[in-house]
């Protein structure tokens, strides 16, 4: 391997990237857009869910109950209706996530010391939202019922202590349960997958498609020099993008960073090698750009999005899928990212993630090199 030849190939690649203004913009703008997209667009915190009410009683008591729903952050009374079909329609059309029906004899029953049933019709097509609605409407009604009972007994000369129980939740590492703090570190893995695998596999597949790769091979440059020369510029770009994303996360979204910066660089470099090798391998296997782009999507972006624990908890997946995630390099990278951003785990405790990541980097680099040699032979 000669450094001058390696440098020449890298320079050629850089010139090509620089000449294509759009690629250049993409390289800088895309990470920013992805971070902003996920930072603003993704919120797991469900609040102010629209509720329609059909109050058939219209009494002081039913108003008291509704007041409690209004006071809760989780609900927003978005409409009052006067008949069932209207309520059903609001839920069908998605204008209401929940319909509350207060029976006509609500206050009458409470006065008589009987059980009054309030109906909650919930749009459960989104199970997560439905869960929140079920939980919090239950607790509102429970609280109301218990106050009604204490009051009732009090009027009959029975003073009974309430049983106030409070759940004090402390959320470690992400105290305010900010979705952005949990999401954004993982976005780094997405950005790297796109830059590393997408861009590289497309660029190199284009060379194959156009035949310029053969021209390059007929020069004295060795295959290893070609490969490294092509990948080094993208490696640099990838590392630049990581710093860019990390900067945005820290200074724009105020995601905490509690670990060591060197660990971030080390793990990012390892993951970059993984995705670059994958991208290169894909370009060698796929002969045209369309196939390369689709395979890159399947082999890198999708696993980084779905199977890395970036968004969906791995431990909640079916057992088989959990085993498969162990073969996904992005899983280890995302795990490192969350730990150094949020937990501040020292590097010495990250071996469980860093070692597999290193192994993946070595193996994939070796496979890519071999495949390239074979293709040339």
């Amino acid at each position: 391997m000669r450094l001058t030849r390696l440098g020449a190939v890298a320079m050629k690649e850089l010139t090509q990237i620089r000449r294509d203004v759009r690629s250049l913009i993409i390289v800088v703008v895309m990470p920013v857009i992805l971070v902003l997209l996920f930072g603003y667009g993704v919120s797991l915190d469900l609040k102010h869910l629209p509720v329609y009410v059909y109050d058939r009683d219209g009494s002081q008591q039913s108003q008291d109950l509704l007041k409690r729903f209004r006071a809760s952050d989780y609900f927003k009374i978005a409409g009052m209706v006067n008949n069932d079909p209207e309520l059903v329609r609001a839920i069908d059309a998605g204008n209401a996530k929940m319909g509350l029906v207060i029976p006509w004899d609500f206050s009458q029953r409470l006065r008589d010391g009987r059980t009054a049933q309030v109906q909650a019709l919930i749009d459960a097509s989104d199970d997560n939202t439905a869960n929140v609605l079920i939980g919090y409407s239950q607790s509102v009604v429970q609280g109301y019922s218990s106050d009604v009972q204490l009051d009732w007994l009090h009027h009959r000369g029975q003073a009974i202590q309430p049983a106030p129980l409070r759940v004090e939740a402390r959320t470690w590492y992400n105290e305010d349960l900010e979705s952005s703090a949990f999401i954004i570190p993982g976005v780094l893995a997405l950005v790297m997958s796109v830059i590393g695998a997408f861009l590289t596999s497309l660029t190199i597949a284009r060379e194959w498609e156009r035949g310029s790769m053969e021209q390059l091979i007929s020069t004295p440059v060795t295959p290893l020099e070609i490969m490294l020369g092509k990948l080094i510029p993208y490696f640099v770009i990838g590392m630049f993008d990581v710093s860019l994303c990390a900067g945005l996360a820290l200074y724009w979204f105020h995601v905490p960073f509690r670990g060591q910066f060197s660990t971030l660089l080390l793990s990012s470099a390892l993951f970059m090698i993984v995705v670059l090798s994958l991208g290169f391998l894909i370009s060698v296997i796929a002969k045209n750009q369309l196939a390369a782009s689709q395979i890159a999507l399947l082999a890198t972006f999708l696993p980084a999005f779905l199977l890395s624990g970036f968004l969906y908890a791995i431990e909640q997946m079916p057992g088989v899928l959990q085993v498969i995630t162990r073969a996904i390099p992005a899983r280890y990278y995302v795990s490192v990212l969350k730990k150094i951003f949020l937990k501040g785990t020292p590097t010495s405790l990250l071996y469980a993630d860093l070692v597999p990541l290193t192994i993946f980097a070595l193996i994939l680099a070796a496979i890519a090199t071999r495949a390239f040699h074979k293709r040339l032979a």
């Binding site: 294509d20 603003y40 069908d92 939740a169 992400n174 997408f198 369309l290």
Partner: protein, 377 residues
């Protein structure tokens, strides 16, 4: 004109189906993605690893803990004896939730004073954390109510039978078992169609331009309009075929119920695919290489999916972002998909979405045809 169009269509179909890799690209990735998504994407929580620190050792504290551990949500893995164990266990990730009941819990309950229960959760996955805290709140709420009822019964049994009570009767519509899969599968159909149709269309046109065959076609008697029709019609049909294919997987593999009318779903699919053809053509007019097309498509795809309500309800986004979502055709198609699958609603509810997609599709196609003419000159 029809004869020329027919020839063009034949050429297009030969081109698409000739290459083994391209054939795979048409149907492989959608199926694989559908399967992975169907299994991996879930916001449900089950068997969350939990540790318990009971410093009260009372009947009451044991009762509360057993209520939590008897749900499918929490698996109590260890009983701790010392508070100092908690940080270590959560740091290492051995447990996600720690439930701590301090000494004096039962005493406080008896006196009617606030009895706190401490919950410590690992917030690095804020979704699991949020839901876990919500469930524990519900469990504590039921516990408090039962406790109070018992006390009332002890003190004033003669009154308790005649005491008023409010109950909430909950009816989760459309998805009574609250399955995440039922929520995600219809969404996946929409987002896969989006990715497929946009990229395929953009690639098909740009490829001709990149290779130079576009000029060859333009010197033939074929008019630009015929060319566009000939290019888009195959992908229109392939798009419809893919929708049917993945919808079949959703119904027969994942057993998501289909309650609406197939005709409504297909009307929605046709309108949506028209929108995507428009986007694909637009991308092709601003790209000169396939790589550019791919990356530009990516720029469209990511926001379009994030802002569609695919994974996160639109109502939780910041208001300015909520307005942006009106521009994503997928937003409307998802309502049609979920409406047809889960809600079983028809045109009378879904017509606004159809209208919006029709208008967007018309605008996009007009724009792309106009731009295409210009790009040729």
């Amino acid at each position: 004109m029809l004869a020329r169009l027919k020839q063009l269509l034949i050429k297009e179909f030969i081109q698409v189906f000739r290459d083994k890799r391209t054939r795979f690209v048409l149907f492989g990735p959608p199926i694989i993605q559908m399967l992975i998504f169907g299994y991996a994407a879930t916001f449900e929580i089950r068997h969350v690893r939990t540790v318990v620190l009971d410093q009260d050792h009372s009947q009451e504290s044991r009762d509360l803990i057993s209520r939590a551990s008897s749900t499918p949500y929490f698996d109590v893995e260890r009983q701790l004896t010392d508070q100092r164990q908690i940080p270590e266990i959560i740091d290492r990730g051995d447990a996600v939730v720690a439930l701590q009941i301090n000494a004096g819990f039962a005493e406080n309950l008896r006196k009617g004073q606030t009895a706190p229960v401490q919950v410590i959760v690992d917030g690095t996955n804020s979704n699991t954390a949020l839901i876990a805290v919500g469930y524990l709140g519900q469990i504590a709420g039921v516990f408090a109510q039962d406790y109070q009822h018992d006390r009332m019964y002890r003190i004033a049994p003669q009154w308790v039978e005649r005491m008023p009570q409010v109950q909430l009767e909950q009816r989760p519509w459309y998805n009574p078992d609250l399955r995440s899969r039922w929520f995600f599968v219809p969404g996946v159909i929409g987002s896969l169609t989006l990715v497929l149709v946009t990229t395929l269309t953009a690639f098909a046109v740009v490829r001709e331009r990149e290779i130079g065959t576009l000029e060859q076609i333009m010197v033939t008697p074929i008019r630009p309009f015929e060319f566009i029709l000939g290019k888009t019609l195959p992908f229109f049909l392939i798009g419809l075929l893919d929708v049917s294919l993945i919808a079949t997987i959703g119904t027969f593999w994942f057993h998501v119920p289909f309650r609406g009318q197939i005709a409504v779903l297909f009307t929605g699919a046709v309108l949506f695919i028209l929108c995507m053809l428009g986007v694909g053509l637009l991308i092709s007019t601003v790209s000169s290489t396939q790589q550019q097309a791919m990356v530009t498509a990516f720029f469209f795809i990511m926001p379009a999916i994030t802002f569609s309500g695919f994974g996160f309800p639109i109502s939780t986004m910041p208001p300015w972002l909520q307005y942006c979502t009106y521009l994503s055709p997928l937003r409307y198609f998802l309502v049609v998909l979920r409406g047809s699958y889960l809600k079983g609603v028809g045109m009378n509810v879904l017509w606004p979405q159809m209208l919006a997609m029709g208008a967007l599709g018309f605008a996009l196609l007009m724009m792309s045809v106009l731009r295409f003419h210009k790009a040729l000159d």
